[in-house]
């Protein structure tokens, strides 16, 4: 019984798909697109989240860039002054040569900033750590008002901005996912409806000779599952391709590379995308088949 049942489902489903192959293609491609967009969204969310986590470890850190004219001695005086603030946990003086080395290390060996600018273009810098995250922004404002301070980069601000982008991307992505998912469900359901219409006489005969509802329903569900499976698998490949080519693109940039490395998706991620495709296929065909079942009973 199970073998004959499976044979029946396969032959019915594939005959139908061959008959309206254009509709089948549309359903599959649509499934691929919506799952791919879903996958890319998850990937981007992973990237940004890893970036936020990466940076929020240093969320109470501030970089205080001094004027070019400020000497090392003046800078050290400023360091001692800031050190006495209640809000401040620690202040480190970073000589402009040290700053240059850091930057060169981050950007790769092939660029020498010193040669590029004909000398060290960087000013001296003070790395300030606030006692806690809440005070960091207030602290940064006060630092900006000090004489000799050119600019202050506050990680709390960076994190806040990243979070805002994060939310925006998530919102746009979710909207896009919902729209394409609805289109996919409609296309899959329509393909199944087409099968039901083309097979209406066979379905009527099955109903009259006493075929169980599963004999009627299963080949239709299988058809939807096939669309979802193939679409989902293609989407996995697309997202995987996007991810690897992005990695290749940022290979030369060490800051970006650390960012993306935190979010390297494993095979579970891509298997899950295929499952998402399967779920789309199941939902699409269920909606069409339920209409039929309501009509039959």
């Amino acid at each position: 019984m199970p073998f004959r049942f499976i044979e029946h489902c396969l032959s019915e489903a594939f005959t139908s798909m061959r008959r309206h192959w254009l509709m089948s293609m549309a359903a599959t491609v649509s499934a691929a697109i919506s799952v791919a967009i879903f996958g890319l969204l998850v990937l981007i969310v992973l990237y940004i989240r890893s970036a936020v986590i990466h940076e929020s470890e240093k969320v109470n850190h501030m970089r205080v860039y001094l004027h070019n004219s400020v000497t090392e001695q003046q800078a050290r005086e400023l360091q001692r002054r800031i050190q006495r603030w209640v809000l401040v946990k620690s202040v480190r003086f970073v000589h402009k040569d040290e700053g240059l080395k850091e930057m060169e290390a981050a950007m790769g060996d092939n660029i020498s900033l010193r040669n590029l600018a004909g000398g060290n273009p960087l000013p001296h810098r003070l790395d300030v750590v606030a006692v806690n995250f809440e005070d960091a922004v207030e602290c940064a404002k006060r630092l900006e008002r000090l004489p000799g301070v050119e600019s202050v980069i506050c990680m709390a601000d960076v994190v806040r901005q990243l979070s805002r982008i994060f939310g925006l991307v998530r919102l746009c992505g979710l909207t896009l996912v919902i729209i394409t998912a609805l289109a996919t469900l409609t296309l899959i359901a329509n393909a199944i409806r087409l099968t039901i219409y083309a097979r209406r006489e066979a379905i009527r005969i099955m109903q009259l000779v006493g075929a169980t509802i599963w004999f009627i329903r299963a080949p239709l569900l299988l058809e939807g599952l096939v669309y979802g499976l193939i679409g989902g698998a293609f989407a996995s490949l697309m997202v995987y391709g996007a991810h690897t080519s992005l990695l290749r693109l940022v290979e030369t940039n060490k800051i970006l590379l650390t960012l993306f490395h935190v979010a390297v998706p494993n095979w579970h991620f891509f298997a899950s995308l295929t499952v998402v495709g399967l779920i789309f296929g199941l939902l699409g065909s269920l909606s069409a088949v339920n209409q039929l079942v309501r009509y039959l009973s």
Partner: protein, 231 residues
Amino acid sequence: MIQLHNVTVKFKGGIVALRDASFTVNKGEFVFIVGPTGSGKSTVLKLINRELLPTSGKVIVNGINVATLRPSQVPFLRRSIGFVFQDFLLLQDKTVWENVAFALKVIGAMRSEIRDAVCSALQLVGLIEKWDAYPRQLSGGEQQKVCIARAIVNNPLILLADEPTGNLDPDSSLEIASLLERVNQRGTTVVVATHDKYIVDFLKKRVIELRNGTVVRDEPEGVYRGALSLH
């Protein structure tokens, strides 16, 4: 085998298709249900097949009140009932053999079982030589014979036919009538809904006449026009 007890069927919109109808069909009987179009003949067959449930009254088939069947049990009732239509309902992309075998395949029958059953069904209707023809290559009478083969291939207890000769010429109609009689002689209970005077008068079986959903005549070895119809 089949019992209707005071059955009334009302459709939405207030149409009463059957009004307080009662009759019993015994095992092995051959019954014509006659009456003009719209008198409720098809409704009776659909009640037996549980495509319709009575608005009131009871329909009992094989000793079971069909209203008590759960939806999942309905297919098993239908496996004991063959059904033949006026407009054949054959699958055009399947051969004669495949059309008959389809009825067994979709209820999960085994392949060897299918081979033997299809063979004897086609032999009974006299179409074994045309087993690999397609429906469009057959005459109307032959197509209806394929339908009868499909309806009896599972050895049903009951055969229901709704206007089986409605699309056929008189000669073919008589052939189909004789074939239905032969099926009946093998022990199958046969119920034929028809307004084909010709075959009713030819076979002289029990006749149940409906008028506007009411049973107005029920006589053994009857003819199409009963005493009541003369008025």
